[in-house]
Amino acid sequence: MARGLVGTIGSAVTLAVTVFICARGVGSAGIPPFGPLLDPVQGAAAAVRYADLPRSEAQQITSLGANVRVLFDTRGVPHVYASNTRDAYRALGYAIARDRYFQMELTYRAASGTLTELVGARALSLDKEARRLGLGWAAERKWAALDTTSEGRRAMQAFADGVNAYRATMTPASTPIEYKLLGATPMAHWEPRYSVYLLMRMALTLAYNPDDLRRTRVAALVGRDAANALFPRNAPIQEPIQPVPGRTAPREEWVAIPAPGAPDTSLLAPASAASVLEHTALAMPGAEQTGDALGSNNWAIAPTRTASGGALLSGDPHLDLSLPSIWYEAHLVVKDSLDVYGVTFPGSPTIVIGFNKDVAWTFTNTGGDVADYFLEEVDNPTLPTKYRLDGAWQQLVPRIETFHNPAGRQVGVDTVYYTHRGPTTNENGRLLSFRWTAHDASNELDGFVAATRARNVQDWQQAMLPYKAPTQNMLVADRNGTIALRSLGEYPMRRNGEEGSYVRDGRTRASDWIGMLPVDDMPQVMNPAQGFIVSANQQPFDPRVVSRYIGSNWPDPWRALRINEILRADDKVTPERVRQMQMDPLNVRARMIAPYFVRAAERSGNASLGTAAKMLRDWDYRYSLPAQAPVLFEAAMKRAIANTWDELRATPGTPPIAVPASYVYLELLRDSTSIWWDDRRTAGTTETRDALLADALATAFDSLTVTLGPVGLPWEWGLTGGINVRHLANLPGFSREHLAVTSGYGTIAPASGANSTHGASWRMIVELTKNSRTAWAIYPGGQSGNPASRRYDDRLEKWRTGQLDSLVVPESEAAFAQSRLLSILELRP
């Protein structure tokens, strides 16, 4: 009897524990709720049943004006055939939500600082950072300022209708796998304003570049002259976006880098430099640390230089690569009104990069100086309530930020103080306020919506005028053969022609911006005599030609140099040649720097460097998969840079507070005896360039020999480099890692080195002739966000090897080839 009772009680306990763990999981132990997760019908396995699109499906969106047919082609691209544009956006919202709902929520939450509501307190620091940067605050301001009758706002509303119509159909079985793993519930509604948050997220990615903070920190270590030279206003190699008539080669203008000087903390008076030096959370890594991968390329070729006699446009924005991709491909058709194809961000209601019947367009990041930090004087460093402005105290406006977990319990609270400039951050009692163009009221979507209907380049440029941030090099071509680029967006102007190079004095309004650069003064070009336009994030103006300040410390020009070099040598360019260019493995950075290593090795008299020097000497500077020299070169560069910039370490053993661009390194290489070559750790010895380079090469060679073995197969770039395309939530099973690519830091298709996570996020070529439009494109991933779907990563291998898909662009349902049809979605009011 007693035994039976014990058994019964034991069973009850076992049952209770098992059911509890299955239902709730054990968050602290990383155990998810196994019950709903492993349920064979509604759990993770259900993803398999939703992997393929149904052959046909009918759904309802009550706000539709008329039926909409969505035909999915065999690449999973929805072709929306609607009778009005708003219905088209509704259908697009439905289609994107069906494929990417988790991504939409994650991106929105990252921008709004509400990730804790999805994943709990572990995201608190990320959320606090987003809110301290004022992302949500700015999105709310932008939304509130939108004209309720504007096309952009109506598009967001229509898009949200479609998203929410899909959300209403979501069942436990069809819920994305990520929610099941997190034990989370998908958010109940997609609000129209969430699309604005996504734009803020892109602004953060592309336009948050606090060069002033970086330069101020460097000046506090090595003085202002050195800081200005290490993070210069102008690149020493000029191949500007706005071409210089008659110039057929890059212009070089090298200067000597002044020796490190006395620390300059005058800019921070009356506060000390320490607060800014400690301001690591907002510090941006230098160019050599991030590599060259967060940028973009685009180029357009006029009919006079193409084989077909039409205009050719190429674009490949370089962004963080993820699964699912940052992009979603779609085609929207409204008879006699709209026929636009391209990619959009999941959450944005219209095509961002693409083409219509007459015009094609794409973007690269301009990287202008669109943000300034101001050191404020406050009444109470520990609990500030006022800041001084022109001698009078002004009230700081507190904004209480609260953070909640998925259950609605508060998990954190933060107070962000605002000055008239924007949000502030408090570092050891010193308040820095932040002024950023992306915080300003704007309506970028009005521009995008209108641009999709443009009939020619002029129309398109006119439509985009409302665009403010982030500043973009907007390249456009049309069927008439016009090619043009304008670096559009808000560029702040400062009093007396000042530049935003350093943290500014917040105590006076004289430090504030006085307006924005007029459109006519922005970098731009239309139908240049050279017959092509190239932008690859390089300095837009040659300062010898146009001296106005729009930014500094420009990204390296290596990609721009190579693209211009190829285009100058070819006056019968074909789409196939453009495709090859997008994957061109030659690295101009290596071509200009590697010979210094070779000469240093030869001069060293060190016979053991013979093999290493020969590898670099015999190299054609191509990052092809079997090449071995890139592995050695990159390893040697890494060591050389680390040993060279030891002066930029705040304390020995810590990473440099910033690393100059590689063109600055090349500038330094021209001065063999510069004091910057000296390694301060070796007291009594003064190193020279050649000694440092030879040592870096020898150390890199020896280290590689230890890790990879003797020079041979394991040294091949294709085996040691590689790009990682990780799942959005960094789930390893749903990520694709170590993809061998002909990319490196400086090649046209960039990567920041081995294990890079950035690269060409979308490659597109469009050929526009009088009578036709033909397009090819690809992105790394697939249309579906469901890891069980073939469409999750079906494009990845093609992307890796540089192939493009030929795009299907049927103007009507009748023109849609049955052989290309995968699925039909019928949406009814």
Binding site: G7, S11, L15, T18, P36, D39, V41, V48
Partner: protein, 114 residues
Amino acid sequence: MFFLAAVILFVAAEFVIGWWTLPVIGLVLGLVGARRKGVSVQVGVAAVTAWLTLFGWTALQGELGIFMHSLAVSMKLAPVMLLAVIVALPVLMASAAARLGAGLRPESSAVTPS
């Protein structure tokens, strides 16, 4: 017969309602089959049979094996561990519930052959 009925009941309940019917059905089957020898084992095996039947049904509709392998990697589990959890979970819940159910009936000590 009891076993087959249990499997069908589990399949139907899980299909329509979900995983949490495992303990509920297990409890009911324990109460009903309290006099059977080894009822908790029978119910546990029936539950896992139903569970695997439903996984088999899903596998017919796509590449379940590959996906579950990726899922295991994402959960930082060896795939065989995930499989073990998938098998253990219904057995544990259903058999514990059945034993509890059987224990709640005083006459459960009287055993009849199955």
